[in-house]
């Protein structure tokens, strides 16, 4: 294929994968969009309203306002990861991933298409959760570009992590283990509900090894203008994670791990 023909094939292929993913997300909206909205509404009611009133202010904001960025980024993380892992593993399990594997599309286009699909689901759910939060508390976004860039990069990181999980998974149990035993604890301990300054010194030291802390705080800085860690460090951690996972995914796709015999 000549250069321009190759670009055209890649672009049409990329758009096709994204369209297919979005169609899937919207077709099963009752499983993809509604549950996070309901879960987050419960979080706002229980943690924000009922418990939050007794906690008082945190970082100069009401507790309800303080947890909004964390809950938005938590749903973005869960949904971008979940979309990638369920869609890609589903395609592998049902063997229709072969439609892509026999096509002329290079691996990076396949990866980019699936990541874009997962990113869009993360954004859709993030937007829904943010809209729900506005029923409970007013939010004035301080740094919209920071907020948006951290959101996009975080979704990309977890989409890529979901791809690694899906590639190695051999049965449906394998795609539930990481979200349950790794992702959920790291998210809850990543400063979604509290500032790490409240923790004893030892646990503050432990927390800095949790990459999700940097995503939550980067996003919180974008939204509220406060953070437990420096913004530069947040970007550094997120970009490093994205680059490392992207390289790992491409390597696995190139080797055909879990996909080609």
């Amino acid at each position: 294929m000549s250069g321009s023909a190759g670009h055209s094939v890649n672009w049409v292929g990329f758009v096709t994968i994204v369209r297919k993913e979005v169609t899937r997300i919207l077709r099963i909206w009752g499983q993809t969009i509604v549950p996070p909205a309901i879960t987050m509404t419960l979080y706002f009611i229980i943690f924000g309203e009922l418990i939050g009133r007794r906690i008082g202010d945190m970082g100069g904001f009401s507790y309800m306002q303080y947890i909004v960025p964390g809950l938005v980024i938590m749903s973005v993380i869960t949904n971008s990861y979940g979309n990638m892992v369920s869609s890609f593993f589903g395609a592998k399990f049902g063997k229709h991933i072969e439609e892509l594997l026999i096509s002329p599309l290079p691996n990076w286009v396949i990866l980019a298409g699936y990541v874009a699909g997962a990113l869009l689901r993360g954004l859709m759910v993030g937007a829904v959760v943010l809209a729900v939060s506005l029923f409970f508390t007013p939010i004035e976004v301080q740094h919209p570009l920071v907020m948006l860039s951290v959101l996009l990069l975080t979704a990309i990181v977890f989409a890529l992590a979901g791809m690694v999980n899906a590639i190695f998974a051999q049965k449906f149990d394998d795609i539930a283990i990481i979200p349950t035993f790794v992702l959920a604890p790291l998210t809850y301990l990543g400063g979604v509900f509290y500032s790490i300054s409240l923790l004893p010194e030892f646990w503050q030291g432990v927390s800095v090894f949790n990459p999700i802390l940097y995503m939550v705080n980067g996003f919180r800085y974008g939204m509220l203008g406060v953070s437990d860690v420096s913004l530069a460090l947040s970007y550094g951690v997120i970009l490093a994670a994205a680059a490392m996972l992207f390289a790992w995914c491409l390597y696995l796709l190139h080797r055909g791990t879990g996909l080609r015999s």
Binding site: T16, I102, S103, G256, R260
Partner: protein
């Protein structure tokens, strides 16, 4: 260059040279296979279950990674220029491998997108092939609701949407009733007539005999026969016919130079060497007062040859192991 040594490479839709595949569990599925399929050919790739046919197709379509050797599609190495080589191929796999929650139209249009075909063209082509395969009225139904034969035809429509120069069909008619099978043959024959090279694997040898011009038989990871269909069928030195008789016989008749077996009182199986005429058999039976009501081949000619070749190969492979130490 192996099989392609005597020819220029661009004449071939597919060249396979010393292809090897050993799986992680140690199974040697391909033991240095070489073959060439000319552009425009209708080529049969036959072999018993587990012979290596699907592995070979898997390597050609890049679903299986070869341990050694080379594959070129229209002169393009799949290892060096995978994208270019894959853009020439359409594959109908043995197992259903589409998303059963999607609709046939979505499946075909998406496949076109993976080959870089713009959506407007993809929709036109999808309509064309779904209509040709009598699936257009089912285009908007969830594909899981289609019958087995429809699902097979859907996979053919999907493989055709990029209008491949090389179409590989891995048992496309498995489990399909005879009426649909015949309509699929017509469709595939039409595709080949319009210039598409077709490689077919099937367990219906009558299908291969009717459709294909050239043939390779693979057994235990090796090519044991690779020739044109006519030459192969010409090597069949004995043909067996089943004769249904008007009246029951007490004993089996004898005819010089032919082997006759009485399977029951009113059925004979006559094996004729190729140089013997059927007229001799009928004249002799008539002389003995035996009236034949109908006659048919015991099995089709390719099937008979196939069984002999595979049996001979397996006997040859077992022979050294059975020799006493």
């Amino acid at each position: 260059m192996g099989a392609a040594t005597l020819h220029t490479w661009w004449m071939y839709a597919l060249e396979v040279d010393d292809l090897r595949k050993t799986y992680k569990n140690g199974v040697q599925a391909l033991k240095g296979i070489s073959l060439a399929v000319a552009e425009g050919d209708f080529f049969a790739l036959l072999g018993p279950n587990g012979a290596g046919k699907s592995t070979l197709i898997g390597v050609v379509s890049s679903l299986v990674t070869a341990t050694g050797g080379e594959v070129r599609v229209f002169g393009t190495s799949i290892r060096e220029e995978r994208s270019r080589a894959m853009s020439c191929i359409g594959l109908v796999p043995q197992e259903l491998n589409f998303n059963q929650f999607e609709k046939p139209l979505e499946i075909v249009v998406n496949q076109a997108g993976y080959y870089g075909i713009p959506r407007a063209t993809a929709l036109q082509r999808a309509e064309k092939y779904l209509k040709q395969l009598n699936l257009w009225d089912k285009a908007q139904r969830p594909s899981r609701t289609l019958s087995g034969g429809m699902k097979r035809r859907l996979m053919i429509a999907r493989a055709m949407v990029n209008e491949p120069r090389l179409l590989i069909l891995d048992e496309p008619t498995a489990g399909v009733d005879i009426e649909i099978r015949r309509s699929m043959w017509e469709f595939i024959r039409g595709i080949n007539d319009r210039g598409t090279t077709v490689i077919l694997t099937t367990h219906y040898l009558e299908e291969a005999e009717n459709l294909c011009r050239n043939i390779a038989i693979i057994d235990q990871g090796e090519i044991i026969q690779n020739t044109d269909m006519k030459s192969l069928l010409a090597t069949l030195d004995v043909e067996t016919f089943v004769l249904d008789l008007r009246e029951s016989l007490a004993e089996c008749p004898r005819v010089d130079g032919m082997e006759i077996v009485m399977t029951d009182g009113r059925t004979l199986e006559a094996s004729l060497p190729k140089q013997k005429s059927l007229n001799i058999l009928f004249a002799e039976l008539d002389r003995q007062g035996i009236q034949v009501l109908s006659m048919r081949n015991k099995s089709n000619r390719l099937e008979e040859l196939f069984m002999r070749l595979v049996d001979r190969n397996q006997a040859a492979l077992q022979a050294p192991q059975e020799r006493p130490a």
